[in-house]
Symmetry: C2
Subunit: 490 residues, 2 copies
């Protein structure tokens, strides 16, 4: 066993102060719970949010709160250095699904092929094979949706309720609204430019599309609870992927806006404006209300997390359900998200693009109320879930089984090195050091940090200083690691 | 035709001042010579020296002179920005031989496979196929000599006189001396550590090894003249690859040392010292005489160049022979070489490791007495020779046909970008800018320049300043070019 990495883990609240680093494995009744877990394999609930910024939660969220996310964190481990494998949704979700750097599947940026090959085993395939009832609820957004295997029912999910694309209208989910918008749009721009204004298609429910009424965050939460309620003989694996807090955050229940006196934005009307003009504002609301919209979405997201936790508590499932919360990438600066104290945001390889809210909880099994700074990544979830289900992870897997860290038997578990590459940007982190490169300036509201940057994240978490000239040895070491990793992908 | 790049080319001496940039194509009798060339294809003499430093010639060579190399330059074009594709002998020679970045053949550093594959066509194969009599005289040093195709007679040479390895004793070329040394060495170090002290094997003459008497520089010059003298019906292609001025420069004719009062170093004697101690001194003569030894080798090299030029003049072959002079890489700082005003030396990707003395001459056809700063490289020689021979270069070729530049019909010919990669170091040059990276500090006497460096070579030819932080756009642009090139190698 490796040396315990005690400096990186601390109790979250004073109430847990008794649990010093040396006695993590003596949590009350944890051994009982583990015995139960051996008898009945734990359920797994993976909650994935969309573009939830590192700073838009907890102490950093100064203009609002997410009490239910706090409640989840207090019941488990809050990872302060939890990463995803990409700063954009589609690539990140593919890494999460396969436990592999998605570049191994040829995926770097939007439009790459997704699960085009059978070579890689998916998280739900492993869990279904292990006897789990599996459900995908919400946003899929695998790259290259044209490949049949990218459809959730084709990569291991028994049940699918949600949408395949990048975004979903929060309020409209019916064919009539969708057709009406597309019709207007075609008239305006026959070449379909501006298409992504509104994704108000009906929900995909398994093989068919169904008109639905309601707010997407609530609909997804409800569906997850329904599925979990029905599962009885088998343990369940539910991936609950909210579209909150992705673009179009202005799409909030009218009564919410009214109550708070927040100015609404009407959906696009061709009589009023060019679709691209609207698009710019709706997707990237550079307006006084931008932050208010985002806080609205966070509010509903938190409420839904609360309902899920209440459900698990009420059903007595909490201690036998491993609950994970992770965002698919960093907050988008364009929609008012904060990644404080990190630099940059979605689309970039600054910490703000790739370090995300990351919580793992299972009272009685996983350490409770802990804050842990070990380097972990969404790629670790597949092997950790496999371990939870008592089966082997696939041979081709870049993640670590976090179980020994979660249960306190080996606090040193974590990555020494992590890598990112979206084609036009790459980064490597080794220990506290990070080398970052971008060949583009990035989008105007998310500058990618052109050129090379070497940072010591311990000294400079906001990536303000570039030490590439000052520390050539470190730069060389990191570049060597990156090149080795890059060469080994193929 | 591209715009003439007049600023990059200037007459070498006042005598050529009449030849302004605008009238390069009106050199006396050049059109006659070109007509002759069409009737009878020019011979090609490629002189390759070993580790000849950029600063160890011409005005920069303050402590000696190479009048015959000056004479060659005055009769042709002196390229001030002529490069090789590697800062070490073996890889550089493979690039020269194939006209391809040797990385395409999997060759980055010592020990890679050389011409292991038949996929790449060699320079002598093209010329032999075009009807040339071909000879390889001197040092081969292709990587991975174990592959049959690395032997000169197996890649297009009709005749071979020289040696296959990295180095040759300048004075001893006989089996008895070689065996005696190996015997002593085996006694001292059964594991053969220290083996490369002395390569005093006999000369390889086609299929057999023959004991020879004489100084290697003179022997190689003599053999080249002999071959050229015999060639009559066919045009000839001779690659004359001197081992001067590689390591062990102390191995000079005793009378030369005596005349100048330079202290000799005796070859290794096991009774006197550990072979590695000797090795350090003999290969890397960190002693007061180091520069004197090197100047001695340069002196003999220059004399031999003079004999070759005299031979061509006397036989009336000069106007019908394309003569090229190039070093295989930059000067080795370890043996007293200078690369002034460039930084670094052999083994490194500083300019001193890869920018070399580079001359092309054919009076009456090639511009005379010109100094040209266009970016050219040893990879250009294969397509230029193919053009000279009136045949097509292979499809897979990274070089440019320099003929239009040489004859003054298009002075813009030259590379916009050049790339280097030896595994642990890479570099890219685009226009005046260069991005360089090394993951090693390099050998103690040839520091490789750890980490990243961005330089504007126009402003800073000695690579003193690192502008990587100041010019992130330029760094990104160059890194992008490098990554694209690197990805395209396979």
């Amino acid at each position: 066993m490796k040396k315990m990495n005690t400096k990186r883990i601390r109790p979250l609240t004073a109430g847990y102060a008794l649990l010093s680093a040396g006695c993590f494995s003596f949590i009350t009744s944890s051994s009982d719970a583990q015995a139960d877990a051996r008898q009945q394999r734990p359920n797994i609930l993976l909650i994935v949010s969309d573009d939830h910024g590192y700073g838009d939660w907890g102490d950093a969220l100064k203009d609002a709160s997410m009490p239910n996310l706090d409640r989840l964190a207090a019941s488990g481990i809050h990872f302060t250095q939890g990463y995803v494998s990409a700063p954009i949704c589609s690539a990140s979700r593919l890494g999460l699904l396969t436990g592999c750097y998605q570049q191994r599947l040829g995926n770097f940026w939007y439009g790459d092929g997704g699960m085009a090959t059978d070579e890689f085993v998916s998280m739900p395939e492993i869990l279904r094979e292990a006897g789990y009832a599996t459900a995908m609820i919400g946003k899929v957004h695998l790259p290259g949706v044209q490949h049949a295997r990218n459809f959730p029912l084709h990569h291991g999910f028994d049940y699918f309720y949600g949408f395949e694309g990048a975004a979903k209208h929060y309020l409209q989910h019916n064919a009539a609204a969708h057709e009406s918008f597309q019709e207007k749009l075609l008239k305006y721009h026959p070449e379909k430019k501006g298409y992504p204004i509104v994704f108000n298609q009906p929900m995909q429910v398994n093989d068919s599309r169904k008109d639905q009424e309601g707010f997407s965050t609530e609909l997804f939460g409800e569906q997850a609870r329904k599925f979990m309620a029905q599962a009885d003989e088998k343990p369940f694996f539910v991936q609950l992927s909210f579209n909150a807090v992705h673009d179009q955050t202005y799409q909030l229940p009218p009564e919410y806006l009214k109550e708070r006196g927040i100015k609404p934005i009407a959906d696009w009307d061709p009589a009023m404006q060019d679709p691209n003009t609207f698009n710019d504002k709706a997707l990237l609301p550079d307006c006084a209300e931008a932050r208010d919209y985002l806080l609205g979405q966070l509010n509903f997201l938190d409420i839904e997390i609360g309902r899920i936790l209440d459900f698990l508590d009420e059903r007595g499932l909490r201690r036998n359900t491993l609950v994970v919360y992770v965002s698919d990438n960093g907050g988008s600066l364009a929609n008012g998200s904060f990644n404080t104290p990190l630099a940059g945001g979605k689309f970039t390889l600054f910490e703000g693009g790739i370090r995300v809210p990351f919580i793992i909880s299972q009272p009685g099994t996983v350490q409770q109320g802990m804050v842990c700074s070990n380097l972990v990544t969404s790629l670790d979830l597949l092997p950790t879930f496999a371990s939870t289900a008592g089966v082997a992870a696939p041979e081709l897997c870049d993640g670590l089984d976090l179980t020994p860290l979660l249960t306190g038997t080996d606090l040193s578990v974590g990555h020494q090195t992590l890598f990112w590459d979206v084609g036009q940007q790459f980064a490597v982190r080794a220990g506290d050091w990070k080398l970052r490169f971008s060949e583009t300036t990035g989008r105007s509201r998310s500058p990618a940090g052109l050129g090379f940057q070497l940072t010591n994240l311990q000294d400079d978490p906001g990536e303000k200083q570039n030490r590439i000239e000052e520390e050539p040895e470190k730069a060389a070491e990191l570049m060597k690691l990156y090149r080795h990793w890059r060469a080994g992908l193929e």
